[in-house]
Structures are given as C-alpha cells and as structure tokens.
C-alpha cells in the first residue's frame, strides 16, 4: 500500500516506450506493441467512456430518487406505473448505442482475426501510389504494411505442452531440411532450486535479472517489422497463447490448428502467460517474444540451425539499436 501512490503516478507518467511488462498499480492495458493492440485500445477507450457515462447516469438517477423521493421529502407516493414514452426511449436509445458500439467492434474484430493477404496489400499500396492517391495511401498504410508485405510471412508453429511451449520455424531449415524447433521453458517454477536448474541447463548467469514468472530459457525470436503468422495446436490439454501488449490470444487445442498473426515494428522484449487452465504448472509456462532487427534475427537463425541454442539465445539478449536493454528493471 505504501508505494501505491508512487506506483500509480509512475504508471500514468511513465513513457510507454515498449515495456511489455505489467506495471505495479497500473490501471489500464500494457502499452500497445502492434496495430492490432492499438486499435483494440482505441476501441476500448471509447467503450470506457460509454460505460462510465451509463454507470454515472444510473448513479445520478439513484441519488436523485433517494434525495427527492424519500419519505421525508415526499410524504404521499404517486401511483403511476406506466409511461410509454419513457419506456420506448429506454429501449430504443440503448439499442442505438449498441448499434454504434457494434459498428466500431466489427472492423476491429475482422482486422485482428483475418490473416492479411500480403499480395493484395502490396498491390493495393502500389496502385494507390501509382494513381497519386496519397491521402488514401496514408490511411491504408496505417493498418497495412506494404514493405513488410513484400517480404512475406514469417511462419511459426506453436505447440502448447504441459508445461512449456514448442516453437518451430518451418521455413528456416538446415542442410538436412530440418526446421528450427525448440522448447521454451519458463525459468521460474516456484521452486527454491529454480536458479540452479536454469544455470545448469543453459550455462547463463542472468537468472536474477529476469522478470519472475515471465522469463523463459529460449525465447521466441521474430524480426521487427515483419508479418508473423503463427499456427497453434496442443500436445496434451488446452493451453492459450497470449501476449497482452500484442492484444492476441489464441487457444492451443489438441486436434485443431488455430491461426493468428501480428506485426511488431519496435524491437523489444514482450511477455505473455498461458491463459487456459492446463494443470499444475499453469502459472509457470510464460511466453517471451524477442523482437529483433532482421540482421540479428538472421544471425540467431544461423546459430539455431547450427544447433547452438545457448549461443543463439545469448545473441538476442542484447537487442541491437535499443538504448535500455533491461526495461523491466526500471518498472518498479
């Protein structure tokens, strides 16, 4: 409680650079790292006004009737029990408000749920530019990224397991044709010996610098400014792949292949946690995504192909072009 006020003010005034960690005492979403999240947050902010207004209206009405129509203020109750006009108003007006909400909701929903057609994005962008429609082009590129579209998707296969994630990159293969594939374990399992286990397994000594319950041994790595498409399934029970700052959440279901996409422009470290109860270590299978510049991603991929997972992981611990490497240290 003591640091509540400090935390509150920190959360309000902190520069939302790209920190993808929960901030103590924060009141709202983590800063958006994708256009999907930006749009979801904009929509949520509108909704927040609407629902605050509704609660305020009900509160004011309640206070008014309590003050004006209590027994002392109004000895004889009136006897009316119908008023068609009022009843029509409070049926139609909420319905109209809901239509308004839906009109904002659907474009947002379709944007995040329909994996973009990259060929179409590149072509549309070109034709808009060619016909000199710069304003439309500007509006179009707010939600679509032609440069990234030219480069195609980075495909990642995600598999939820009890209790870790398997990531594989089917398009990045070594000489034998085997794709990069690795298991990503949370380094914290709530046990006293977690640090020793981590150090023995990875040879790294940065355990204490990692955010508790969020860090993993081998993070997912994606290049910045690229369309990432992930396919997701589960090996045993249902899990859910979530990254709050991306505003994505897709269940990993045995026997189903679900799909999602995201594009992050800012390099950085982004964390998420399994979001479907999956057994004992449900709280201990976090998701860590390191978004790095393309060159650094390629180097990581080479090391992964060579089978040197630890060298690869170490190569993305410092992200090129980033001023502060340990954002999470400054959050408390």
């Amino acid at each position: 409680m003591r640091h509540l006020i400090a935390a509150l003010s920190a959360s309000i005034f902190a520069a939302p650079a790209f920190a993808a960690l929960p901030v103590d005492g924060a009141l709202n979403f983590q800063p958006a790292a994708t256009r999907i999240a930006e749009r979801a947050h904009e929509f949520h902010n509108v909704l927040l006004w609407v629902i605050t207004f509704i609660v305020a209206l009900v509160t004011v009405l309640l206070i008014w009737v309590m003050v004006r129509y209590n027994r002392a203020a109004n000895k004889t109750p009136r006897r009316f029990s119908h008023n068609t006009t009022v009843e029509v108003i409070w049926t139609v007006v909420p319905a109209l408000i809901l239509v308004g909400i839906a009109s904002l909701s659907f474009p947002n929903l379709y944007y995040q749920n329909v994996t973009p057609n990259l060929g179409e994005i590149a072509a549309t962008s070109k034709s808009l530019l060619a016909s000199g429609k710069t304003a439309q082009h500007l509006a179009y590129t707010k939600n679509n990224f032609p440069d990234a579209a030219e480069k195609g998707f980075v495909n990642i296969k995600v598999q939820g397991n009890q209790w870790n994630w398997t990531y594989s990159y089917p398009d990045i293969t070594d000489d034998t044709g085997a794709a990069i594939e690795f298991v990503s374990n949370g380094i914290h399992k709530g046990r006293p010996g977690d640090k020793e286990i981590y150090e023995a397994n990875t040879g790294r000594t940065d355990f204490d610098a990692q955010p508790v319950n969020l860090a993993v041994d081998y993070p997912m790595v994606v290049p910045a400014g690229r369309y990432v498409r992930y396919y997701i399934a589960a090996a045993d029970v249902i899990h859910s792949f979530t990254i709050p700052s991306f505003s994505i959440k897709t269940d990993a279901v045995p026997g189903r292949l679900n799909e999602g996409w995201f594009l992050v422009e800012e390099p950085g470290v982004y964390y998420g946690q399994c979001s479907e109860l999956c057994g004992i270590d449900h709280a201990y299978m976090p998701i860590e995504v390191r978004v790095v510049p393309q060159a650094q991603f390629d180097r990581w991929a080479e090391l992964m192909k060579a089978g040197d997972f630890d060298a690869a992981a170490t190569s993305v611990m410092n992200i090129a072009g980033l001023e502060t490497q340990t954002k999470f240290a400054s959050n408390n």
């Binding site: 409680m1 509540l4 960690l21 929960p22 901030v23 103590d24 983590q30 929509f43 949520h44 909704l47 629902i51 009900v58 309640l62 309590m66 129509y69 209590n70 027994r71 109004n74 000895k75 109750p77 006897r79 009316f80 029990s81 008023n83 409070w90 909420p94 809901l98 839906a102 909701s105 947002n108 929903l109 995040q112 749920n113 329909v114 399992k189 709530g190 319950n213 969020l214 045993d236 029970v237 249902i238 709050p244 700052s245 505003s247 994505i248 269940d251 279901v253 045995p254 026997g255 189903r256 679900n258 799909e259 979001s275 479907e276 057994g279 004992i280 709280a283 201990y284 959050n331 408390n332």
Partner: protein, 566 residues
C-alpha cells in the same frame, strides 16, 4: 386489492399440527420447511465456498507460493518439490470447487430452492407446491450431490494430489482420463448429475405449480414478478440442464468406457464439450440472477410504496433475457479458434441482452421515482444491488466485443465482471430477500443495526475486493494463477484486503442470526392482524398471512380481484 377478508388459519389448530422433528425435517413435504432446509443448506455450502475463496485471496495477497505450501507442509507433511507440486494442485482444486460450490450449492439452492419454495406458493395463493414429495426428493438429492462433491475433493484427482483441479468449467482433455485419471472427476460428474436431476425435478415442480395453482383471479399478467422470475428460471433449468447432463455423460464414457467424444486422437473434439457446456453455462448465469431480479422488484416497490413500474415490460424483459440467453453461449469461447463471422454473430447477439437488462434497471429507478422511499434494510441492499449490477452489466458489454475479449479473456477482468454480477449481484439480491422475508419466515425480528452494518461492510468490502481486479485484468493478469509477476502485487494485495472486510461482514451476519435467535423479538402484527412489518407498500399475498405463516396456508383459496397482485 388482494383479499383482506380471507379466512386464514386462525383458530384451526387441528389443521395446523406440525409433525415430529424427524418427520418434519427429514421427510418433509411442506414447501416452507423445504425452503428453510434449502436456506440452511445453502448457508452451510456458502461457508464452504466462502472459505475456499478465503484460501484463494490468502494465497494471492503476495506473489510467490505461500499459504498453499504452508498447508501442504503442516497438514499433509510434505516437503521439498513434492510439497510445491501438491500446493499448486491444491490451489487449482480450491478455485474449481469454489466455483462449483458457490454456483450449484449456494446461489441456486438459496434463491430457487429457498426463496422459490418459500414464496412462490405464498405469492400465488397456493397451499403448497404441486408435487410436495418430489420437492423433498429435489432437496435431498442436492444434499447427496454436495456430499459427493465434498468426497470428490478428498480422493485422488490428477497428478499432484486429491481432488479435481481443472476449473468449474471442467474442460477436457484436462478433465479426461489423461488429465485427471483419478476418481475425483468421476465423483464430480456423479455429483453434478445428481445436482442436475435435483434441479430438473425442482424446475418441473415450479412450472407446474405456477401454471396450475395460482389463486382464482390471478392471471399470468397479475402474477407477482418473483413468481415470473422463478418461472423463467425453471424453464431455463429444464432446457439447459439436460445439455449439461449429456456433456457430462459423454465425458464419463470418455473417461471410463473408451468413447472418444472429446479426445482428439480418437477423432473427437475437445471444443465440442465447450459448446455443450456453455449452452448450459450461459443460461445458468441467468438462472442465478433472474430470481434476484424478482426479489429486487418486490423490495423496490414495497419501500417506494408504489406499484412496480412497467410490470409487463419487467416480466417480458426476464422472458427475453431467458430466450436470448440460449443463443449467446459462444461468447465464452472467442479464443478457441472460431470462424470470424461466427464471432461477429455472437458479439451482436450478446450485446442485445443489454437492452432488456437496461429496461429492468431503469424500471426499478422509475418505480422509486415519485415514491415515498423508506430506507429499511432490504431497500438498502436492493439499491446496492442496482448500482453494483449496473457496473457488472456494463463490463459485460465490453467483454461481448470479441475484439477486446481477445485481450482480456481468461484474465482478472473477466473474474471482476462475473463477480460483480454474481458475488455482488446475485448475493446482494439474496441478502436483500433474506432481510425482506426474514421476519415472515421465522417469526422473529433481526437487529436492524447489525443488518445495516452487514450491508456497509459487504458493500465496501466486495468493491475493494473486486474493483481492482479490472485493473489486473487489463494489465494482463491471467485467471487461475497461484503465483504472479510482482507487477501485479499492489492490486492483488488490495483485493485481499477487500476479502478481509467481507469476512468481517460475514461475522456480523452470523452474530445477527444468533442475536435474532436468542432475543426472539416477536414479529410485527399490523392493524389488519396480518404479519406485515412493511406497511402499505407490501401488497403481495404472503404479507396477508401471520409471521411465520401457519403450517398449511390458504385452506380457503384467496381470491385476487381487480388490479393488484403485483
């Protein structure tokens, strides 16, 4: 004007003899005694469910694994990693049974079995329920079901220990033989089957009673709103529970007899269980809140001394909530990988529910408008209900939008939302009804100071408990986590402080019960000789009877004439 001149049972002692203790309470066929049994049962189950939530808040007061580990070490003698694994499993068990116990053994028995049994016959002018012995079976099956659930907590469940730790939603494959091989899940299935049978029998009883046993002159459109709410609830139960029973049976045969309904590598689909579960589960949330709506309507009308505003709109708002409640279930499953057009449909359908709900909120306020409001204890609870239910309702509109739900699904935002509508909605409705009918049911008065104190502690406590959970959810704190990153600690701590305040409220509640039982202040008898402490505003039939009502009432049926009855 409901019958003033009815011959009540005064002076008919021969008809009012009560059977001996065992016959009266164990073989009961009397709707009022069964109602009381349900209320006592709900109170016991409520203590269990509430204690489980205490364990949750105790554990989550600070990051790391604390109290759960302490319990495993000190009560079960475990050490090292084994204790930690057991603690993690125990936490999952606690959250699962907290949900199940509160829903199936606290809210439903109290609102439907308790108040429904007590007051539906009294309000519609019936001597008893249509099938008194079936009523008895319903109650005792509920008890059996609760015992099965309690046993299930103590037998081997999944890896890590006893009990089922897969959440109250029982999703396979975690609830399949691969996820929880032990008998705990089988016992739980049996328990829920039994609870389902009990509820279906009860629902049939209510439907038949309400449709056939209303007093002469009480048409459907003169029936009190509480009876309407129970009628709609009973229809929902009748239609929804068989679907749950089907899903549970498939789960049972998957676990024990080699079927593959929900097992992917046998050609089944775990998501199908979710569809079946939520086809039951969504109506279930209205099953829990509709009776509270009915209770609140009567209280608001009584203490405003005005007839309820827009009676027909109120009744049909409940009917339409019930109908729409059956076509919105997949909004619980936006992240399972549904087609986007399907999601868009469920977004639209779900938001429609806000319209009838808004009608109810505004009609309650319009009932108070122009009234002469007395702030008696039940009215304070009812006003609290309206305010808190509004908050829970509007976050429901936010969650209905799949585009936002992808961010907050399975986070504490959802936990905050459904506790606002249930823990602060249904439970406030429950206490409002309790304080409204206490004197009628038990023939003694409660201490109004204690009841008011109970309200304020509960109001402050549950808001401090649940409001910060919205912030946690928006920041990304997932549900059903025993441990969390330190960035979530402040609001978790505040939330646990809120629980402590509600604990005080609960202590006050039990002190109030003991005080009322010891002091035995005589119930009010008004100028007409009726047991009506609330004055002219209380117009429903139960207030024309003495408090407590005679063992058998309405030996001569009351006749409802003209306007009135609601």
């Amino acid at each position: 004007m409901p019958m003033d001149e009815i011959a009540l049972d005064h002076g008919h002692d021969a008809h009012d003899h009560k059977p001996g203790f065992v016959t009266r309470w164990f073989f009961s066929t009397n709707h009022k005694d069964i109602g009381t049994l349900y209320l006592v049962f709900a109170m016991i189950a409520g203590i269990v469910g509430y204690s489980l939530s205490g364990l949750i808040r105790w554990e989550l007061a600070a990051p790391g694994i604390g109290p759960m580990l302490w319990i495993q070490t000190n009560f079960f003698g475990l050490e090292g990693d084994a204790a930690i694994t057991a603690a993690k499993h125990f936490y999952n068990v606690v959250i699962s049974y907290h949900g199940l116990v509160m829903i199936f053994f606290m809210v439903m028995p109290a609102l439907i079995g308790g108040f429904g049994n007590w007051f539906v016959p009294l309000m519609i002018g019936a001597p008893d329920m249509a099938f008194p012995r079936m009523n008895n079976i319903s109650f005792w099956l509920t008890v059996a079901s609760f015992i099965l659930a309690c046993i299930s907590m103590t037998v081997p469940g999944g890896p890590g220990g006893n009990g089922f730790g897969g959440g109250w939603t029982l999703y396979p494959p975690l609830s399949s033989a691969s996820g929880h091989p032990g008998p705990a899940m089988d016992l739980l299935i049996l328990s829920l089957h039994t609870a389902g049978i009990a509820s279906i029998l009860g629902a049939i009883n209510f439907i038949v009673t309400i449709l056939n046993m209303r007093a002469p002159g009480m048409t459907m459109h003169k029936m009190p709103l509480f009876a309407w709410s129970i009628l709609v609830t009973a229809v929902l139960l009748l239609l929804a529970l068989p679907v749950l029973a089907g899903a549970l049976t498939m789960l049972l045969t998957d676990r024990n007899f080699g079927s593959q309904f929900f097992i992917a590598n046998g050609g089944g689909d775990p998501v199908m269980f979710q569809h079946l579960f939520w086809f039951f589960g969504h109506p279930e949330v209205y099953i829990m809140i509709l009776p509270a709506f009915g209770i609140i309507s009567h209280i608001v009308s009584t203490f405003s001394k005005k007839p309820i505003f827009g009676y027909l709109g109120m009744a049909y708002a409940m009917v339409s909530i019930g109908v729409i409640g059956f076509v919105v279930w997949a909004h619980h499953m936006y992240t399972v990988g549904m087609n986007v057009d399907l999601k868009a449909y469920f977004v639209a359908a779900t938001m429609v529910i806000a319209v009838p709900t808004g009608i109810k909120i505004f009609s309650w306020i319009a009932t108070m408008w122009g009234g002469s409001i007395e702030f008696k204890v039940p009215m304070i609870w009812a006003i609290g209900f309206i305010f808190l239910f509004t908050i829970g309702g509007v976050t429901g509109v936010v969650l209905a939008n799949a585009g936002i739900d992808h961010a907050v699904h399975d986070t504490y935002y959802v936990v905050a939302h459904f506790h606002y509508v249930l823990s602060l909605g249904a439970v406030f409705g429950l206490f409002a009804g309790w304080y409204y009918w206490f004197e009628k049911m038990f023939g003694v008065k409660y201490n109004t100071f204690l009841a008011t104190l109970h309200f304020w502690l509960m109001f402050v406590g549950s808001n401090v408990l649940f409001f910060p959970q919205h912030f946690l959810g928006l920041q990304g704190m997932p549900r059903r986590y025993i441990d969390y990153y330190e960035g979530f600690s402040t609001w978790h701590y505040v939330s646990s402080v809120g629980y402590a305040i509600t604990l005080l409220a609960t202590v006050v509640f039990f002190v109030l019960l003991i005080e009322a039982a010891v002091r035995r202040r005589k119930a009010t008898v008004d100028a007409h000789g009726h047991g009506n402490p609330w004055g002219e505003g209380a117009t429903t039939l139960e207030w024309t009877l003495p408090s407590p009502p005679p063992f058998h009432q309405y030996n001569e049926l009351p006749v409802v004439s003209g306007k009135g009855g609601h």
